[in-house]
Symmetry: C2
Subunit: 205 residues, 2 copies
Amino acid sequence: MSTPDINYTRSMSRWQPNARGRLEQAALELYHERGFDATTVTEIAERAGLTERTFFRYFADKREVLFWGQNRLREIYVRTIEAAPHAAAPIDAVAAALEAAVPTFHERRELARQRQAVIAANPRLQERELIKLASLASAMADALRGRGVPDPTASLVAEVGIVALKTAFARWVTAPDDASDDHDLAQLIREALGQLKVITAGTGA
Amino acid sequence: MSTPDINYTRSMSRWQPNARGRLEQAALELYHERGFDATTVTEIAERAGLTERTFFRYFADKREVLFWGQNRLREIYVRTIEAAPHAAAPIDAVAAALEAAVPTFHERRELARQRQAVIAANPRLQERELIKLASLASAMADALRGRGVPDPTASLVAEVGIVALKTAFARWVTAPDDASDDHDLAQLIREALGQLKVITAGTGA
């Protein structure tokens, strides 16, 4: 219990800089190499050079490594919708919200790619991703209602925003490194919203 | 094993008319009364006056009672998109598909209502419902690709169709019985598509 090694590990676990980032990187590598189901928290901590205790200080379980960003996104979306100019159309408030979160994606493009590959390989994680997107749509719809946008407009606008995000994100995350046009997620979101406008313009209703 | 009662039950289980409908009705009643998790297949069969063996002839498990309609919907959607006139815009092919399934909802409005209440009370069933909708969107996108519609248009149109369906369905299933205007799901779908057109028309892209 009191060998120097263990003390060293403990103190390391408490003071490591960027422990969250290192755990995330280690987890994504292992999920990719061995599959999500076959990876243990012990292995993640080991690969990161940290302790399990440190892992659990940042993440409730190994799935949360892939989904902790959801709260950050929700916060950005809700705050941006709340702060939109009074006269802004609901769709513009949602577009502004989606764009406000773009820097957090751009900072993490390589991690986002790895994460996407892990999720694509695991149906249960795909389901979790659907739930995440539905929950973000629901938070945006609530924020719109808070601005006085009535239903069904509030929920339709929020859902359309998530459809645009999903489509733009899929393009952004799979773009080859030399496709510089596809590297700006904000531009891809605007394009998706433009395509949705063209698509729905044809309906007779 | 060979009492008259059991023989009667057995022969009944094999020849009961509308066994699926009776099991479905019994299941929905019990899910509503006791909750989905607390209900057993034994209880469902008993309430329907049928055997467990009959239950499993129609449904893999108690959850499937709520989701078996998914295959029927997928078939209608895919067939209608495939059969749409060559010149039809993708959004019109999807609108036609959504409307083609309306009679199957209208036939079952009361069951649809009960089902919706059961799902609203259970987060895991809500998740399953999200997966069902994502799978229907994906089937429609595939059918559009089969008509030569490129991506991202194919997936955007399919996703927009599902957003319209969800919104229209929520209104239809919760409409009070005297709100006759909200009783036509086809009309509500057209309205939702019209609202999506108005909403996206505002985007600058």
